[in-house]
Amino acid sequence: MLILQLLLNGLQTGMLYALTAAGFSLIFGMTRIFHAAHGATFVIAAYAYWHITSLAGLPWWVAALGATMAAVIFGAGLYLTVYRRIQRSEASFFTVFIAAFGAVVVVQNVISMIYGRGFVSSSTPLSRAKELIPGLYVAPLIWVSVAVAAVFFGAMALLLKRTRLGVAMRALADNPELVRVYGLDPGRISLMVFVIGSILVVPAAIIQVIATGANPAVGHHIVMISLAASIVGGIGSLSGAAIAGILIGVAETLALLVVGSQWTEAVSFLILFVFIIVRPAGIFGRAHAH
């Protein structure tokens, strides 16, 4: 029973990781931008949702809309004001990483100045655990998160395969110069990638606020797990990010059987480390790591 309980908990965490990893993987795969501030987008979305529901007392869908807008404005804004300028100067990927990390520091501290460093959460009847079968406690939220993740991943797969924008985005990943030759603007497509990638963190951020609560420092953890999951899954692969996200979520909770909860992050990164040494391209990777 304990194992089943842990598996379900892991699934819940895994859904959250899958969604944030998908956004990170999409952005990294298509634009080659190491978006370390993805976690900051997550924190902004989480606090926007919390502010609108708990402080302003508005219904959840208004809050979800507000959180989406906040995430998109931050993600796309960061691309336009910082990443694009750095890319123009032909700097290395690492310059982008340092700048993105600077953005994480700024966001984390601005938010803790406004709302404090503690956890915020808005609990709903959804997050109250019920005894499903004797000894197995499950909050209905888990079914919501599975459904939400399924909807978002389905929509993303359709977008990438069936729409002109999706085709253009995949073309950008393969050959940005060719995209330009065909009269498309790589900058514009990259901007759309950032918009979509930022939207993908919103459901994860909302689930986090409802399930366990968020604090200003949670972005760190989110971006590291996203990075791990997108590499384990294969950069740029949606299904890879989904599977790796769930894999890491489940592995983290199952590890509780053997070691204490302080080791959960180390477990994820051990998986990542082994993958990089044994199979750097990831589960579904086509791209070469070299």
């Binding site: 300028r85 700097a91 340092i98 953005a103 700024v106 100045m113 051990l270 990089i276 790591a289």
Partner: protein, 295 residues
């Protein structure tokens, strides 16, 4: 006041050693490691344990810490042989996270989250190095020694091999260079010398816990090297000096609400990182070089 300034000088030197050794693999070998703070930590923990259980001699702690770090650096060299760029960054990030978990949980050696206290005042040939003054002299000497050693090394054939591998692995392979051995050795040198910073830190602060060796420190060190300028001798030292001086300078800025000082410092610091990367991505040292050329 003097001891306050000397205290800052010690930290400038410790960070300088870390930045210079990180720059050795980052600037010359193209190995972007986010695990440098882990080796800083390992050096500090080894020194603390030697100090607590064996004796207060720095000449004993330093070789021990260097050997342990150089041996453990194989863990970093392993992914460096397999992957480059972003993938290596992720692997080193993994090592850093795992190292912090080990620091926090291996109670018998690291003291857990509480850390190790009561590290003795260090000695060199029986001469006690107590307080900021003597420590500043020692750290300055170590920084000069390490920078000098690395400057000579990068100008030698080994350094040229390293840069050749950085620029084109296949070309240097074609010239018969032993890539794996060169990479492993350079990582070991970098980690082994970073251990010295750890030893100085442990014996100066005389208290070590995980706080000082977290991912934030690794990123800070990375920022020092990049802000100063990679692949140069003075760049990392300049970057280390600026970043170490920032908090003490900011604490003199008037009218900051006292309970928010920490956050405001961090925000200024984050903004500086963004702006420097946008407007001066090749580092501050490039600024001086350009001026020299135009004159």
């Amino acid at each position: 006041m003097t001891s306050y300034l000397l205290n800052i000088l010690v930290f400038v030197c410790i960070n300088g050693i870390l930045a210079v050794t990180l720059n050795f693999i980052l600037g010359y070998a193209g190995i972007f490691s986010l695990a440098h703070a882990a080796f800083f930590g390992i050096g500090a923990y080894v020194a603390a344990n030697v100090g607590l259980h064996v004796g207060p001699s720095i000449l004993l702690a330093m070789p021990a810490a260097m050997i342990v770090c150089a041996l453990l650096s194989v863990l970093l060299a392993l992914p460096a042989l397999r992957v480059r760029g972003e993938y290596f960054v992720a692997a080193s990030l993994g090592l850093q996270i795992i190292a912090v978990s080990v620091f926090a949980e291996w109670h018998s050696v690291t003291g857990g989250l509480g850390g190790l206290v009561g590290i003795p005042v260090p000695e060199i040939f029986g001469f006690r190095i107590a307080g900021a003054g003597p420590m500043a002299v020692l750290s300055l000497a170590m920084l000069a020694l390490i920078s000098g050693f690395l400057a000579v090394l990068t100008r030698s054939s080994f350094g040229r091999n390293l840069m050749a591998i950085r620029d084109s692995e296949s070309a240097s392979l074609a010239f018969g260079k032993r890539i794996a051995a060169t990479k492993v050795l350079s990582v070991a040198i970098s980690a082994g010398l970073a251990a010295i910073a750890g030893v100085l830190y442990a014996f100066y602060v005389r208290f070590v816990n995980t706080e000082s060796f977290m991912l934030d420190t690794s990123i800070l060190l990375m920022a020092m090297v990049i802000i100063g300028g990679t692949g140069s001798l003075w760049g990392p030292i300049l970057g280390a000096t600026l970043i170490t001086l920032l908090p003490p300078v900011l604490s003199y800025v008037p009218y900051l609400p006292p309970q928010q000082v920490g956050s405001i410092q961090q925000i200024i610091y984050g903004m500086a990182m963004i702006l420097l990367m946008v407007f001066q991505p090749s580092g501050l040292v490039a600024l001086f070089k350009r001026k020299e050329k135009s004159q």
